[in-house]
């Protein structure tokens, strides 16, 4: 009656293919793929929230926190080990997410969306006014190491790419399992009927709180990866348009599967790169038309094409 779950196997295959591809990919594509994976991580968190019926326009807050944690850890705290830095990002985002989550879990719909954006813009405002952190220009992050080994300047991008692939694999695997669990379905249930959830003895606020913290943590990891591969952080990471990009990617890919976040992120980066190359002054229009087409013809995102094919409706 219920088909076997092929996602873990497919994720393993994707990891192998991506790691192998990293060897032959040109630098520009490696950079593009790493940034896509990083943004896909943020979108995974956003999907966790969207499946609960909440749209955050403020995931840039954690994306930026993750990025600045990398910069501050390397430049001011002397922590250059990638794993240590990522762990620090998770801790920082977890603490901030837990504090803000206590307030945000009380709000729904547009109020939730606007509050998340407000918090993100507060961070943006603070960073813009902070001369020590480079103000609007941001600052370059220190050269990183991996368990004591310092990769060369040329090799660092492939190291970060490989690490990003493995982190994305673990995140996708964990979040996929999470979506299949009782806690995962609790999100769908809250989106569908919050009153019923309460009458099944569960606090929707508590569930939303956990999901918000989870979304914060994965967004911060995404921000850290971006900072590591770009070698630079600036306040734009917390700006509302950055958060809007994540929502765009979530709509493009769809919320039906964890892989949709990464596919959507890669396509988004690809479309943007090509659009900018074709039309440097009107590339936003091409992105806008793409989003319009997706909303009109694939309201559940690109992943709905795969779902339709599986159920024989495609």
């Amino acid at each position: 009656m219920h088909r076997a779950d092929k996602t873990p196997r497919n994720l393993c295959l994707a990891l192998v293919v991506l790691l192998a591809a990293g060897i032959i990919m040109p630098n520009w594509l490696t950079f593009l793929a790493t940034v896509s994976i990083a943004k896909g991580m943020v979108v995974v968190g956003l999907i966790v929230l969207m499946r609960t019926g909440l749209v955050s326009f403020g995931q840039g807050l954690y994306y930026c926190l993750g990025g600045y944690t990398v910069g501050i850890a390397g430049n001011y705290l002397g922590i250059t080990d990638v794993v240590g830095i990522l762990f620090l990002s998770v801790v920082v985002a977890g603490i901030v997410g837990a504090i803000l989550g206590l307030l945000l879990c009380r709000y729904r719909e547009i109020f939730f969306a606007m509050l998340t954006m407000a918090f993100s813009m507060i961070l943006y405002g603070v960073l813009v006014k902070s001369d020590n952190l480079g103000s609007t220009d941001g600052f370059n992050v220190a050269h990183v190491s991996l368990f004591g080994w310092v990769p060369s300047s040329d090799g660092v991008s492939i190291v970060i790419y490989s690490l990003a692939c493995m982190i994305a694999f673990l995140t996708a695997f964990f979040i996929h399992r999470y979506f299949q669990s009782g806690m995962g379905f609790a999100g769908d249930s809250i989106r569908e009927n919050e009153i019923r959830v309460e009458y099944l003895g569960i606090s929707p606020r508590r569930v939303i709180f956990y999901k918000y913290v989870l979304a914060a943590v994965v967004a911060a990891v995404g921000g850290s990866i971006t900072a590591l591969v770009a070698g630079h952080v600036d306040p734009e990471m917390a700006y509302w348009t950055t958060s809007g990009e994540f929502v765009f990617v979530a709509l493009l890919g769809g919320t039906g599967h964890v892989a949709a976040a990464f596919i959507g992120a890669f396509l988004f980066e690809l479309i943007r790169t090509v659009a900018f190359d074709l039309s440097p002054y009107t590339w936003q229009m091409i992105l806008g038309i793409t989003l319009l087409m997706v909303i009109l013809f694939l309201p559940k995102g690109l992943w709905s094409l795969i779902t339709a094919q599986r159920t024989g409706r495609g």
């Binding site: 669990s181 609790a186 009927n193 009458y199």
Partner: protein, 263 residues
């Protein structure tokens, strides 16, 4: 000796100048089947909403197994052992019947919402299918809730409430919106499940035939107050109940059935 499971003392609810429920003093015993009657706006649903935490009483106390539960949230009330169904079935429309039941199992289980194990494990599916079978709706397991007939939705709503093995089940108009020919079959199924579980049952109903057949005791509400409370036949024969609630229709039906019996 019967044990009181629910007791309300001076329970009242006002919305501004409007009093929806006034000075309601009720006791319900363990395993008792209580039918609640009253015209629209009599205060029946307000009473259920206060007991289950959806509304906070303006005055009064609610005791469940001797413990004060006044003002608790729906979640807390559910955890004490009181479950309810709704006049309009409260389900998860985009999920299937089976998924609805799986979610109910997951949320009402002792472990509550684990994230390590899949919700659709074979063990969980077997348990959920068993529960659906108990209500005769296992044939609809893979159907999305939006496609279900009204009677099946009602049964699923009640089946989900019963997952937690409540000590008290409050049903708000279980047969409303259900076709006449399906009403008794639905109530038979529900009552069988309730009897199996040993839960006390407090059900609001407009259909006097259903009340007469299934309730052992009737509480009649009128204008936010309890105007009769007693064994079914006695309560339905109460002059005030006849005048304000049952009306001439049931009286006529009862007379007719009496005549048939005499003949």
């Amino acid at each position: 000796m019967t044990n009181i499971i629910l007791e309300t003392r001076g329970l009242s609810k006002s919305f501004g100048a409007v009093t929806a429920a006034a000075d309601i003093n009720i006791t319900i015993n363990e395993e008792e089947i209580v039918g609640v009657i009253g015209s629209n706006g009599a205060g029946k649903t307000t009473f259920i909403n206060m007991v289950t935490g959806y509304l906070t009483p303006s005055e009064g106390t609610i005791l469940f197994r001797g413990k004060d539960i006044t003002g608790l949230s729906p979640m807390q009330v559910t955890r004490t052992g009181i479950c309810r169904s709704f006049q309009v079935a409260q389900l998860f429309p985009e999920l299937t019947t089976l998924e609805n039941m799986l979610v109910a199992h997951s949320m009402l289980s002792k472990k509550r919402l684990g994230w390590q194990r899949p919700l659709k494990s074979q063990v969980n599916i077997d348990a959920a299918m068993g529960a659906l079978e108990g209500y005769g709706i296992d044939n609809y397991a893979d159907a999305q809730v939006t496609t279900l007939p009204q009677g099946v939705r009602k049964l699923l709503d009640i089946a989900m409430a019963m997952v937690g093995s409540p000590a008290l089940l409050l049903l708000d108009e279980p047969t409303s919106g259900v076709a006449i020919e399906e009403k008794f079959a639905l109530m038979d199924t529900v009552m069988e499940a309730v009897n199996r579980s040993g839960a006390a049952n407090f059900f609001v109903e407009h259909d006097m035939e259903i009340v007469s057949r299934y309730a052992t005791r009737v509480i009649a509400f009128y204008d936010g107050r309890v105007i009769a409370d007693g064994p079914t036949a006695e309560a339905l024969a109460n002059p005030e109940v006849k005048e304000f609630i049952v009306g001439t229709e049931l009286h006529r039906q009862q007379s007719e059935s009496g005549e048939h019996a005499e003949n």
